[in-house]
C-alpha cells in the first residue's frame, strides 16, 4: 500500500486521511513488535495480579510501553505509590522532547493548541518514529487526522494484544517470555537506526547506548536522563560543528 500523492483528491476529506492513517499500521513491522510487546505487558499484568481492566486502562491512558512495564514491576514488587510515580515520571521525561519535535510536523499557521491534545496523548516512541517516516507523504493540513487514525489503529492493536496476553499468561514458558522481552530493545534499536539520516542522529544513538552503562554506575536514579542529556548534547555539538564548517 502506497499513500496517495500529496495533490490527490483522496486527501480532501479529513475522514479519508484518518482512514489512511489507520491503514498505515499495516505498513510497519513496529505494529507486529508492538503487538508482541503488549502481549508481554498483558501477561506481566496477569502474573502480578492486576485485573484485565487495569491492564487495558494502563494501555489506553498511559500509552507508553516502558512506563507501563516499570509501573507494573515496581507496584508488583511492593514499591509505594510515590516510589512508582517517581520512577515512571523519570521514564516519561523522554515523551517531552518527542512531543516537542513531532507536533511541529502537524502544525499549520492556523492550528490551535487544543487541536493537538489528542495527537500529544498518542505520542510515544512508535508514533514518533512513524510520524517522521509517514508525515512527509501527507499534506500538512491533513496530518492531524492522519496521526489520529494511525494512533487509534496502534492503540487498538495493543488493547487486543493485552487481552490475548492476559489469557495466555499461564502458558508462557521462561524462554518464550525472554524472547518477547528481547524484542523491545532489538526493534527499537533497528527502527531508530533506520530513521537516523543525519550524523547527529547516529552519534546520539551510539553514544546513548555506550554512555548508559557508565551513567548507571553513578547510581543517581536518573541514569537514563544523565546519559541521554550528555550523549544528545555531544551529538548536537557534532551537528553544530559540521554546520559551522560547511
Amino acid at each position: 500500500m502506497a499513500l496517495p500523492p500529496l495533490d490527490s483528491p483522496q486527501w480532501q476529506s479529513p475522514w479519508r486521511a484518518f482512514a489512511w492513517g489507520l491503514r498505515s499500521i499495516t505498513q510497519t513491522i513496529l505494529t507486529i513488535v508492538l503487538f508482541v510487546t503488549y502481549l508481554g505487558i498483558g501477561a506481566l499484568a496477569h502474573d502480578t495480579h492486576f485485573s484485565l481492566l487495569w491492564a487495558l486502562c494502563s494501555t489506553l491512558f498511559v500509552w507508553a510501553g516502558p512506563a507501563q512495564i516499570i509501573l507494573i514491576t515496581t507496584l508488583g514488587s511492593g514499591a509505594t505509590v510515590i516510589q512508582s510515580a517517581i520512577a515512571v515520571t523519570v521514564s516519561a521525561i523522554r515523551l517531552f522532547p518527542m512531543v516537542v519535535s513531532v507536533l511541529p510536523l502537524m502544525r499549520t499557521p492556523t492550528t490551535k493548541r487544543r487541536e493537538l491534545i489528542f495527537a500529544a496523548h498518542l505520542t510515544a516512541v512508535t508514533l514518533w518514529v512513524e510520524c517522521h517516516r509517514f508525515l512527509p507523504q501527507v499534506p500538512r493540513e491533513r496530518r492531524i487526522a492522519f496521526v489520529h487514525g494511525l494512533g487509534c489503529g496502534l492503540v487498538s492493536v495493543c488493547l487486543t494484544a493485552n487481552t490475548v496476553g492476559y489469557f495466555l499468561a499461564a502458558n508462557l514458558t521462561q524462554t518464550l517470555g525472554a524472547a518477547i522481552l528481547l524484542l523491545t530493545p532489538l526493534s527499537f534499536l533497528f527502527s531508530t537506526a533506520r530513521n537516523s539520516r543525519e550524523v547527529a542522529d547516529v552519534v546520539a544513538l551510539t553514544l546513548g547506548i555506550l554512555l548508559y552503562p557508565l551513567a548507571a554506575k553513578m547510581n543517581s536514579g536518573l541514569d537514563i536522563l544523565v546519559s541521554g542529556v550528555v550523549a544528545g548534547t555531544i551529538a548536537y555539538g557534532v551537528h553544530w560543528w559540521r554546520e559551522v564548517r560547511a
Partner: protein, 116 residues
C-alpha cells in the same frame, strides 16, 4: 474469570492514575505547551531530538544490560551476542528491521537451546 475479577478493585485503578497516567501526561502536555512556540528547523529542536534519541538509546541499553524478568534468565553473552548479530545482519541487509530482529531472536533462542 468472573466479571468482578476482570474489573479488579478501584484502589488499584486509582493507583494507576496517580503513578502511571499523571506522570506521563504531565510531560506530554508540557511538550504541547512549549512545542507551540518552537520552529521545526530550530537549533533547540535539533538538540531536543538528539536528547530524545539518546534517552531511547539508554532505555535500549538498560533492558539489555539490566534485564527485567524472564530475560534475566538469559546469560550476558547471549543477550549482547543477539544484539550484535542482529546489528550486523541489519547493516548487511541495507537496514532491514525485520532481518535484524529475527536474527537477534534466533541467535538468543539457538544459544539458549545449545546451552541447555
Amino acid at each position: 474469570m468472573s466479571f468482578a475479577q476482570a474489573i479488579g478493585d478501584w484502589y488499584a485503578l486509582a493507583v494507576l492514575f496517580i503513578a502511571g497516567v499523571v506522570p506521563n501526561q504531565i510531560w506530554r502536555m508540557l511538550g504541547l505547551w512549549f512545542g507551540g512556540g518552537i520552529d521545526e528547523g530550530s537549533e533547540l529542536l535539533v538538540w531536543v531530538r538528539a536528547v530524545a534519541t539518546a534517552i531511547l538509546a539508554g532505555v535500549i541499553a538498560q533492558i539489555v544490560v539490566e534485564p527485567p524478568g524472564a530475560l534475566a534468565s538469559v546469560p550476558d553473552v547471549l543477550r549482547y551476542g543477539a544484539v550484535a548479530a542482529g546489528l550486523v545482519v541489519f547493516l548487511l541487509t541495507r537496514r532491514s528491521i525485520f532481518a535484524g530482529v529475527v536474527t537477534g531472536e534466533v541467535f538468543m533462542l539457538a544459544g539458549k537451546w545449545w546451552l541447555g
